[in-house]
Each structure stands twice: as C-alpha cells, then as structure tokens.
C-alpha cells in the first residue's frame, strides 16, 4: 500500500517549520554558555546592537515576566521538583545553556550579533561524574534543590537476598551505556507570532511531536490561558522522542515575538541540536544474576544511575531512562526475585530526555550482557539458557506487577536463532578462527511496553494518566474527516489511521482525511511517542468511527426499510445482507443524516455525524528478538555486522510495510548506539561532539541488509489486538551486537563494559587481554 503523505514529501512540497514565513518576520540566535558551569557576571550587548540589522538582545531580565519552567516529573512524591528560568539568569549549568537571545533581520545577522554579545563569566567547579555527583561533598548543580539527586528509588519483589544466598552461580557486571541522542535530520525550530488582541494570543509553529502537551506546558509560563496559544506542527522531519520535550526555546521565542512586536523564527543548528536538546541513555548500570546449577535463574538485582545532565527535563524527567531500566528488569524471564535501585544525579551536561528506546536500552544491555556472561561462566549455550528461563506465551504478571498481554517470547528467540543458522554458524565460527578471523553471534530477546496509556504507565512507575481521543465526522458528501492529537513525524499516520477509519466505515481510503498537528483543529491528545500511536489511534478511531457507523447503519436501515442488523457498510454504500440490489450510497445517507429533519433518530438530530471518543487501553507489550552476527578485526578493533536479524511481535499488524520500516529504522539507531554514536564531554565538562563529523550516524554502509521476521500474537487487551511498534529495534539491537562482539572475542576472554564499542575501546580490551595472557605465560 502506498503512503498518503508521500507525494507531497517526494515532490518537495512538505511544509516543515523552516518553510513557514510571516511578513516582517525576524530571526533569532541564542547566546549559549561555553562553560559547563559558570556564574553570569554581566552581559554586554552594545557591540551586537551596533550591527545594522540586529534589532534587540534579550536576557533573563527582559523576560522576567515569564513564570519558571517547572519539571515535576512523573507525578511521584519521591521526585524532586526543579524550576528553571527559560534563559539562565545567574548561572549557566552546561555547555549550550541559553543565556541571551539576539533578534535580527536575517539568521546571518542574528549570528553576527550573537558572536558580539560579551558575557563575563565566573567559572564554577563542574560536576561531571554521575557517581561523584551522588557523594555528599559534591558541588551542587542546582543549589536551590539542595541535592544533586532528582530521585532515589528502590523496589523489590520476592526474596532477592535469599536467592543470592542460595545461588550456585552469581554473575555480576558493570555496564556503562553511552550518551547518545535522537539527532533527527531536521532539528528543532519555532516560529512564533504574538497577536495583541483579546488579551493577547500566541500563534506558534513548532517542530514537536506533541502539540497539545506543548501548549499545556508553555501557556502558563507565558502567562496566558491554553486557549490563547495555538501550536501548529505540520510536517516534522523526524523526532524520535527528542521533540516530546518542552524546551526553553519553546517559551523564549514566543516571548521575544511579543517583546519585539514581530514574528520571530528560530531554527536550531546542528551544534545546538547536539549540545542543548536532550541526551539519552547515559547510565551506569550494575546487574547481578543468581542461578542454580541446572541453569535456572533465580534472581536479578540491578542498580541504574542515570547521568541526568543539568536539568530534569519536562515532562518526563530523567526517570524516563532510570525508572524504566529498573522496573522492567525481569523482561521475558521467569525470575520471581527481583530488585532494583535508581539514582538520577544532576551533572553539568545536557539534560536527559525521552529518546527512542529510552532506559529500556541500557536495561536491556545490562541484563542481556549479564545473561551471556552467566552462560559462559556455566559453560551453557546462551540461547538454551534463555529458553530454559523464559515465560510462556500466555498472559503473565511480572513480580513487579506488570501484566503482559500474551506474546511469542520463546518463539521469537527460536526464530531469530534459526534466522542466523545458529548451529551452522558455530561450525563456521570455528573454521574462521583457524584462519585468524573472529566471528561472533549474539541474541537479545525483549519485551517492551507499547501503547503507552494510563495502565502501562502506572505499571512502569511513571503514573501519568495517558489517553487519547479521536473525532470522526462523516461530512455531508460522505467523505470522512478524522482529527487526532497524535502526531506523525514519519510514522505515516495519514495512511495507517485513514486505513483504520476506512475499514471501520466501509469507505475508500482516499475519502478519509486525517487532521493532526494543530491544536486549533484537532481534539486534545497526548502526542506520538513510546510506540503508542497504533494502539491509541486505532482504539480511539475505532470507538468514535464505530459510533458514527452505528448512526449510518440506522439511517440506512430506515431508508432501505430493513433491520439495522442486516445492513453492511462496504465500498461506500450500505447494503442489505443477501439482497445485493437493495443499497444506498453513503453520500445519500450522510445528506439524510444532516438534513433529514425529524425523520432522523433523536441522537442524530442532536449530534449529526460526528463522534468523539477517547481510548485508554490496558497494558500492551510488544516482544521480539534481535540476533547479530559480527566479525571483529582484532588488529584494528573494527566491527563489521555481517547479519542482523530481528523478529518482531507487535500484535496485530495494521500496515506491514510501515511496521517493517519502523523496525528497520529502529535497528539502524540501535547499530549507532552499539558502535558509533557518542556525545562526549571532556573531564572539565567541555562538550566535544557538537558536529556530525564527531557524532557518527550509521550510514548506508554501516547498516547491512536486514533479515526481518514477524510473529503476530494478538494483544489480549487492546482494541483489535494491536500492540504498537517503533522502538523495538533500538531496544534489542545494541545488546545483540555487544553479545556478538564478546562471543567473537571469546578466545581472548574480554569483557565489554560500555557502549559505543569503538575500535579504540576494543583495542584497549584486547591489549589488556594480551598483557594478561603474556603474564600467565611468563608465570
């Protein structure tokens, strides 16, 4: 099926935020901190203001009428509430922290002005190491808070201590999941206009994946009711979670549009995107497994410390990484004794936010790397060990109380194993070693909460009520308009949701239009992230379209003098079952629905052919497995991915092409996380990865042709059995790759303790292994 959105995107007729222009529009550039931690002594804008075309320079003082941006985290009492001013007022807390904004006639002039703003800094000691940040004598990142730790939390189930005491084997690993980010090809951007009428209102174009939530968060900071803020997010050039954060720039740009009396545009540049958006997955993990001699894993214990950066991000906070790494600890394994603790120390780095795969990625890495280690220690096959401990396919409640809606946990691993010809591979691996070539294979089965809604969020320790609504209208001519608060930034909602609507109403897909990305014309919704849109979109549309369908059926029944239960809506007409020539076209039904006077049922006279319904499903969980086959060049440390196979079970698949595309894109991201992507800071907090020369995306030559398989286990709880997809590959692939590298290098006995696994790091490990071996030989 061809996507509805493609013709405009292929012809260059999409409308992205930088394509929007208002008459008289000015351009903004931010003055940002070059220091990790510094007091702002003074800001002198006189040289900047002397540039022709630079109209104004604003600092925190000029926008002191704004309320602070408050991060309260996921509605939990144990999470610190942190406030920040949208422009740093007295202290800059990371490289890239915005302290002033220059407004000029062109982006070029705005940057000229930016370079001339003279900020006098008084450098403060930076907090760079997350573990040191937790020490009582550490300097504070935010003195107002009185602590660096945004949240410490612990949870346990069963008797973990007893299980470890009784264990025949205990495996313990430390793993540092590296700092990466979404870096969509389109960065962030805001175009804002202030209209000084009716008490003032803001008209904002934004590259966001959650227009309504963005409005909800920025309106009170701007000091206006939400209804006086319009957020439009037409086409968005990739988001991957980065754009479900509320940023200071989202507030400052509307504010300076008001102050300057002109519409203002800010288009983030790549350095800003990498230095001052959100970062992700930077987590120091320890993972311990207790096992019996027969291979039964009896307990998991994890500690997850998220290097949270300087600010608790809005709305999800750093718990979006640490909490979810902990609470889903048991994953697809039948392990009843589990415990975790989380810490979220602030450091003088960019804030941690929600990015594709969030804390599931480090959690998955820690657990799956540890299981491989356990298998090696016990001399067991890593696939067999996993299968031996895996839960069954039926509905299952974890020790922490998540209720899985059924899945193909073992089957997915078996399929992935077969996809890489596992038995044959082991032979090939041995032969290759004789030639001095090192091949390895790694597996990573996963369970992922999708369809993020109230129940799944609560079960994940992020107890925010999440739901969504859709409004379906059959227009007077029988065409259909759907509005949703979900957003599409590549997922193809205009296609999938139109398809769902068309199926429900028995109309052609091209008669359905999906309206989203505009708070003025769409019903309230929570936006698109956390692999939630298929479940929430399908559920809310099926409910609202179902109500309209019921009305259409009753009208058709009266027009055709038949019983409503005998009416079929198919191909844009209503038919009487078994009487093919008795039919009425939808257009006629619709006209009657609007203009049929008192002949219509009362509810149709009142509501017409519009129905709005919400959906808040029970917990849904996708599952699957990634398997990687790699070759490691031991002299140079380079890793080549020979094969990457993924089995995905996201329940009932609405659109196989789109699901495959999501899985493939997510895997590419996972390859980046495993091998390439790293946002690096020096020991003094200086940021050194602010360009795509140093921050490495996987390109066509690093992502191999993928082997993609799918299993459909319908969800036991959601509408239509749909589970959702989007993050799976990112969650599963890194652990599979790390396990494959470790397997390849098993003759050397190395232990990988961090991502990305760079050539430099592998050589370090191999050097150390050589050294150890030489010592042994010498002794």
């Amino acid at each position: 099926m061809q996507r509805v959105e493609d013709p405009r995107l292929l012809a260059g007729r999409g409308r992205f935020v930088d394509d929007v222009a208002f008459p008289g529009m000015l351009h903004a550039a931010f003055v940002r901190s070059p220091h990790a931690h510094a007091r702002i002594v003074s800001v002198d804008a006189s040289a900047a203001l002397a540039v022709d075309g630079v109209l104004a320079v604003y600092t925190a003082k000029d926008v002191d009428w704004l309320a602070p941006l408050v991060s309260s985290g996921p509605m939990r009492d144990d999470v610190c509430v942190q406030s920040r001013t949208p422009l740093a007022a007295s202290t800059a807390r990371h490289v890239g922290d915005p302290v002033a904004v220059v407004v000029a006639r062109s982006p070029y002039l705005a940057e000229d002005g930016r370079d001339l703003v003279d900020v006098e800094w008084d450098a403060l000691p930076p907090v760079v190491d997350p573990l040191q940040a937790l020490e009582p004598d550490s300097p504070l990142v935010d003195e107002e808070l009185g602590t660096n730790n945004i949240c410490h939390a612990e949870q346990s189930a069963g008797d973990v201590d007893a299980a470890f005491a009784d264990a025949d084997y205990v495996t313990s690993i430390r793993f540092h999941s590296g700092r990466s980010t979404a870096a969509p090809i389109e960065g962030r951007g805001v175009v804002a206009e202030y209209e000084d009428r009716g008490g003032g209102r803001y008209n904002i174009y934004s590259s966001t994946q959650m227009p309504h939530l963005l409005r909800m968060f920025i309106a009170p900071v701007l000091g206006v009711p939400a209804g006086r803020v319009t957020i439009k997010a037409p086409d968005v050039g990739g988001a991957f979670g980065l754009k479900c954060t509320v940023f200071p720039e989202d507030i400052v740009i509307p504010a300076v549009a008001r102050l300057s009396g002109h519409p203002v545009k800010w288009i983030e540049d790549r350095w800003e995107n990498l230095a001052a958006g959100v970062h992700s997955k930077d987590m120091v993990c320890t993972m311990e497994i207790a096992a019996k001699a027969d291979g039964t894993m009896t307990a998991f214990r994890g500690r997850f410390v998220t290097d949270s950066g300087a600010y608790s991000s809005v709305p999800f906070s750093p718990l979006v990484d640490s909490q979810v790494a902990g609470v889903y600890l048991s994953s697809c394994y039948d392990v009843q004794n589990v415990a975790y603790s989380i810490d979220n120390p602030l450091t003088n780095k960019c804030q941690i936010g929600a990015v594709r795969g969030v804390g599931w990625v480090p959690g998955q890495l820690a657990r799956e790397v540890a299981i491989d280690r356990l298998a090696r220690t016990m001399g067991k096959d890593p696939v067999e060990l996993r299968l031996q401990n895996m839960i069954g396919p039926e509905v299952y409640t974890t020790p922490f109380g998540q209720t899985y809606d059924g899945g193909s946990y073992a089957a997915a691993l078996e399929q992935a194993r077969d996809a890489v010809d596992y038995a044959e591979f082991r032979q090939r691996q041995l032969r290759a070693r004789e030639d001095g070539r090192y091949l390895g294979v790694g597996f990573s089965p996963f369970v992922e909460p999708t369809g993020w809604a109230s129940a799944s969020a609560a079960a994940g320790g992020m107890p925010i009520p999440f739901f969504d609504t859709a409004s379906v209208t059959v227009e007077t001519d029988g065409s259909v308009t759907v509005t949703t608060g979900l957003h599409s930034d590549g997922q193809g909602h205009e296609t999938t949701l139109a398809q769902v609507t068309a199926d429900e109403l028995g109309v052609a897909m091209d008669s359905v239009r999906i309206v989203y990305g505009d708070t003025d014309s769409s019903v309230f919704g929570m936006g698109t992230y956390a692999s939630r849109s298929a479940v929430l979109g399908f559920g809310s549309i099926r409910e609202s379209a179902g109500q309209v369908r019921d009305r259409l059926t009753r009208i058709a029944a009266s027009l055709l003098e038949a019983d409503p239960s005998d009416i079929d809506l198919v191909d844009g007409v209503a038919r009487v079952k078994g009487v093919p020539d008795k039919s009425v076209p939808l257009q006629q039904i619709a006209l009657f629905g609007y203009f049929g006077g008192t002949a219509r049922p009362d509810d149709i006279q009142r509501d017409g052919l519009t129905a709005t319904a919400g959906y808040d499903p029970g917990e849904t969980y996708a599952n699957g497995c990634a398997a990687a086959v790699v070759e490691v060049d031991v002299e140079t440390g380079l890793v080549t991915i020979e094969q990457l196979a993924a089995v995905e079970d996201c329940g009932v698949v609405l659109n196989p092409t789109i699901v495959k595309g999501q899985v493939a894109g997510a895997i590419a991201n996972g390859i980046g996380i495993a091998l390439l992507e790293e946002l690096a800071y020096e020991d003094n907090g200086e940021f050194i990865s602010g360009n795509l020369i140093n921050y490495l995306y996987p390109s066509t030559t690093e992502v191999p042709s993928l082997t993609l398989h799918s299993i459909e286990t319908p969800s036991a709880v959601s509408a239509g059995g749909v589970k959702g997809v989007g993050e799976a590959g990112t969650i599963a692939a890194p652990a599979a790759i790390v396990n494959a590298i470790t397997d390849a290098l098993s003759p050397f006995g190395i232990t990988i303790e961090k991502t990305p696994v760079t050539p430099e790091y592998l050589r370090q490990l191999l050097r150390a292994a050589d050294h150890d071996r030489n010592k042994l030989v010498g002794a």
């Binding site: 070029y108 940057e111 390109s699 430099e760």
Partner: protein
C-alpha cells in the same frame, strides 16, 4: 550556522588571483570549498575575503601525456572518473574513492585537498609516495616544490599567503607496485590511520625502492623511513617482510593524540595497515588489476 561576512573576488587569471591575494592580507583561496566552507559555517574560519579560483582558465585539467599533470582546480570526481589515471596511476583512483562522498568530490578539487593539508587527507600521502611536485605561483614568479618539502604541519604548507598552488606533477610509475588502506569508522569519514605505498622490485623480485607514507597518524603526512628501509632488499610479497615493515613503521614517527583517538591506537592501527598494504602491493602493479 552561517558564515561571517566576507568580500568575494573571482579572478579569471592566475596573476589576478595573486594580485588580490597579495593586496588582501586576510584572504583565503576558495576552490571547491568542501573543506573551507564547513569551517566558515561553524565560524572556525572567518576570512575577510575569498578568492574564488574556480573559473581561472587553464587551472583545471588532466594531462596524461608522459607523466601526469593535474591542474589545481581539477575536481576530485573528474580524477576519479578518468580511465587513463585509473589504468596508469591506480593508486590515485583507489585513494580518491575514500575522499568524502560523490557530492563533495564533485565540488572538491584535487589541489584544494593538497593545499588544505589536513593531516588526515588521503591525497597528501599519495603525493608523497608518487614523488609528486607542485607548481606554485606567487608575486615573485613560479617555483616547484616537492611533495616531500610541501607539508609542514597541521593545515600548514610551504605555500605563502599570497601564493597559489597551480598544478600537480606526478611522474610515470610504470613498473611500480602500489597499495592503499585506511581505517575508518564509516565509509568516507576521516581516517583513524591510513597508509599509501609504492614499491619497485628488480627482475629477481627483490624490492629496490619502497615508499611508505602514513596519513591521519602524525600532524602531517609522513614517510616511514623505518618501514621503507626494512623492505628494501626483501622479496616482494614476502609476508614476513610486510609484517616486519608494519612492526617498525612507526619508529621515529611522532604520533598525534586527540580526544577521540589516542596515539596508542593510531600506532597499532597504522602498523596493521602498513602490513596489509605492503602485502597487497605485491599483487597491484601499475595496471591495477593485473590485466584482469
């Protein structure tokens, strides 16, 4: 990410270009711009004037009569696509494949890469092993600089501010064997370490001349005299000699260290590439694929 202001000059002759370079102290030569413009966008370079030499008549072009003569503004893509170069100087073709991507090679010039003198540039090392010489013009007239004497350090060359690289001359290399290799994390990226080699052997198959150049290793492309010395007199294609060349290749080389790649890694990686490149060279004669 927008460049700062500059004045733009587009001379149509070399003397005009030299004139404007001499009269504008803070000016820079703009050829393809593929190295300079990213630096300007990031405002790491803010020249007051740019002198666009791309439309100077006669400054681009490939002449393969006898030796190879490349005009400085010859596009890298034109070099890559030239069948005679591929046949007679296959080392050049093999190296250009690794310089950026099609879109940067179509704008980027051969001379621009050399004059920019990025220590990670493939072509500079190739120039060293092909014994190239560079034609340079300045207010005082023309001179020729050998590749060996041209690269002084990090982005620093023998070129004076008001001098222009006008041509690259490479001798005929009939009878030479060659090799090229580099370690990159992604295709087209700057190398973590790289090696270009050319070797000549006598009728008995013993190496008589060896030129091994390392790039992305030191602060400028350098010859490895230790590896070269080890190879002379050995049998071409002897794997033990190749290993030995790799082992000593970094002796006496001051290896660069930065936040992303340590000197230790560069040393190991370069040694490994030397070994492989020397082994491979035995199978690469001038005609590239040996008549295949």
């Amino acid at each position: 990410m927008k460049p700062a202001k500059f004045d733009y000059y587009r001379p149509y002759s070399v003397p005009e270009a030299i004139e404007v370079l001499s009269s504008h102290p803070d000016s820079k030569v703009l050829a393809g711009g593929q190295s300079l413009i990213p630096l300007m966008n990031m405002r790491l370079a803010t020249p007051a004037a740019l002198v666009d030499i791309s439309r100077i008549e006669g400054l681009s072009g490939i002449d393969t009569n006898g030796g190879l003569r490349l005009g400085a503004t010859t596009r890298q893509s034109d070099v890559l696509g030239n069948a005679v170069i591929q046949q007679r100087w296959p080392l050049i073709t093999s190296a250009v494949v690794h310089v950026g991507h099609p879109a940067t090679r179509a704008r980027g010039t051969f001379g621009g890469s050399i004059a920019h003198a990025d220590p990670a540039a493939e072509l500079s090392a190739v120039m060293l092993v092909l014994d190239a010489s560079f034609g340079v013009q300045g207010p005082a007239g023309s001179r020729s600089v050998s590749a060996e004497g041209f690269f002084l350090g990090h982005y620093t060359t023998e070129l004076a501010e008001d001098e222009l690289l006008v041509e690259i001359k490479i001798p005929d290399i009939s009878g030479w064997y060659w090799g090229f290799g580099e370690i990159v994390r992604r295709h087209g990226d700057y190398a973590l370490a790289g090696v270009a080699a050319s070797l000549r052997a006598d009728e008995a198959g013993l190496v008589t001349d060896a030129r091994i150049a390392l790039f992305a290793v030191a602060h400028r492309p350098v010859r490895s005299s230790a590896a070269e010395a080890r190879l002379v007199g050995t049998r071409l294609g002897d794997p033990a000699a190749a290993d030995e060349a790799g082992r000593v290749a970094l002796d006496g080389v001051e290896v660069a260290d930065d936040s992303f790649v340590s000197a230790t890694y560069r040393r190991e990686a370069a040694a490994s590439v030397v070994k492989r490149v020397v082994r491979e060279a035995a199978t690469n004669s001038r005609s590239g694929t040996d008549g295949q």
